[in-house]
Symmetry: C2
Subunit: 316 residues, 2 copies
């Protein structure tokens, strides 16, 4: 496999999935200037909207050799996180496509090309959050807080720090009120695409695991990169084979020490339920240096290969 070689596709395109129709009445009109040719454009917000869907872009390899992969981004990001890495290398989208896997890249509800609903009373009413570069530096475990100003990361960190600003430009506003809508969208997507493998990052991991609990027959395997928001032990658990992938520097980050306890509890519950499960502690496996942005770190191709091998073992 040549990670920069050509890509032969049978098709590429996009669709939306999920969501609902809403009808708005009784709102005032307003006049706006859209362009110099439309200086007094009357906007009437009353009428029909389609909201709360996800956007899905798909890439089908000319020679399909494996199950489709659905890529689910984390909080504050879109499907672009799986494309070109901040330092310009091919991402996991291209990697899994070269493996002969159809790839479905999601912009989940209220992110990216899925749009969001600015109408009063809807899930996007609250003011959204946009992550600062300083917060990304710290919460993505790139380096210590006082290392940001000089882009001085944790020793051995594989995130391409000189391209941190490109990661910042991939950040989009996010709401804290839309998780359950995102779960519905991923469940609907799995039902449409399945049988498939879902690979999900961070907040997307919790969303994917919750969706998988509803669609166990459509999702053949679940790969969770440092997830949060996993189903609790009292919830129904997804039953397909599951892999949690964890990077480095967790001992230096109290929030991730807490999340790691959750990952191990979750996998213990899977073991109790007789569910095939695996934990990739990357540093312990001889792959040190990963930040939270495992698909962007300089060893992203290598980790993708490890993940692909695990998938092929449990869901071929």
């Amino acid at each position: 496999m040549n990670p920069t070689g050509p890509l032969s596709l049978s098709a590429l395109g996009s669709f939306t999935i999920g969501g609902r129709r809403v009808q708005v009445d009784g709102q005032p009109t307003r006049v706006v200037a859209i362009s110099r040719d439309l200086p007094e454009y009357l906007v009437d917000p009353n009428g029909t909207y389609r909201i709360e869907h996800a956007y899905v872009q798909y890439f089908l390899p000319a020679e399909q050799r494996r199950l489709p992969v659905v890529l689910v981004h984390g909080g504050g990001l879109t499907g672009s996180c799986w494309e070109t890495t901040p330092d310009g290398r091919d991402g996991w989208l291209q990697h899994f496509l070269r493996d002969g896997r159809p790839v479905y890249v999601v912009d989940n509800v209220e992110r990216g090309r899925a749009g969001w609903c600015p109408l009063p009373g809807m899930a996007n009413e609250e003011r959204p959050i946009l992550r600062t570069e300083e917060e990304a530096w710290e919460i993505f475990r790139i380096g210590p807080p006082d290392g940001y100003a000089k882009l001085d990361p944790f020793a051995g960190c594989l995130f391409p720090v000189e391209h941190l600003s490109e990661l910042s430009r991939q950040q989009v506003p996010r709401w804290t009120t839309t998780t359950s809508l995102s779960v519905v969208a991923i469940a609907a997507l799995a039902a449409k695409v399945g049988p498939c493998v879902v690979i999900a990052h961070s907040q997307g991991g919790g969303i994917a695991a919750q969706a998988a609990a509803e669609r166990s027959t459509d999702i053949a395997a679940l790969v969770l990169l440092e997830p949060h928001g996993l189903p609790a032990q009292s919830d129904r658990l997804p039953t397909m084979p599951q892999l949690i992938v964890a990077g480095d520097f967790i001992d230096l980050s109290p929030p991730y020490q807490s999340l790691r306890r959750r990952w191990l509890e979750y996998l213990d519950a899977a073991a109790d339920g007789g569910i095939i499960h695996e934990y990739f502690d990357l540093p312990a496996m001889g792959h040190p240096g990963n930040s939270h942005m495992i698909m962007m770190d300089s060893n992203s191709e290598g980790v993708a290969s490890l993940v692909g091998e695990w998938i092929d073992e449990v869901a071929s």
Copy 2:
């Protein structure tokens, strides 16, 4: 050329372009619940942001036979408007890729994967507009206002009305305060990609023409699908060959009668300046039935071919 045949790419990926760094200070922190595992997440909005960039996804054909094409969406839409049509056919993205043209699909500033800036005092402070399905029906010249309820379009209209809801799901919030930022982004993209051909729709047409006036050496030809916001006669005009494409039913729509006068005035000014120019009045050319959404109508492949032929005549 087989419009559903395979696509051989040398590469695909994405990057961002333009924008700026801003620093925020003195804003209050707040605690939000991001997931059940992060129920008390402290959000500190103070710090560094990267805003006002565009997102660009690129598809490079294995065999490049022609100049690159940059596709610029209209108001309220994203780059997804050039992908799969609402009724599931390949769009102009795939068409021009099969022509052997590298294709760059833009999500301009504040749209789609480009994100937007929810911070006070920035270009997105005002409440955005989201288009209703009723307004799309009317302003995209699909049918008369009283035809919407029964999806009864203008006689002969080629928009796939039974899939109107898919067009609605492609709509995203848009601001009326970001046009000049979008012009800057397209100019920067042309400088990076050029020499290239820019194909732009509706509001994107005005943005592209304004950008082209600044980057006449990078843009070899300009294709404007029913544009608005074109440079005025007193402005500097772009000097490369230019094509305006107009659909049907304009005589039934007063706003488009006014826009058509602007298109013809603009082309007259181009003629006066010795600029190569063309006007495709599609019905007069024997291609009746186009709505404003020319790239989505059922003859979208045929119109794309006409546009491609014009490009090859003026910029090969």
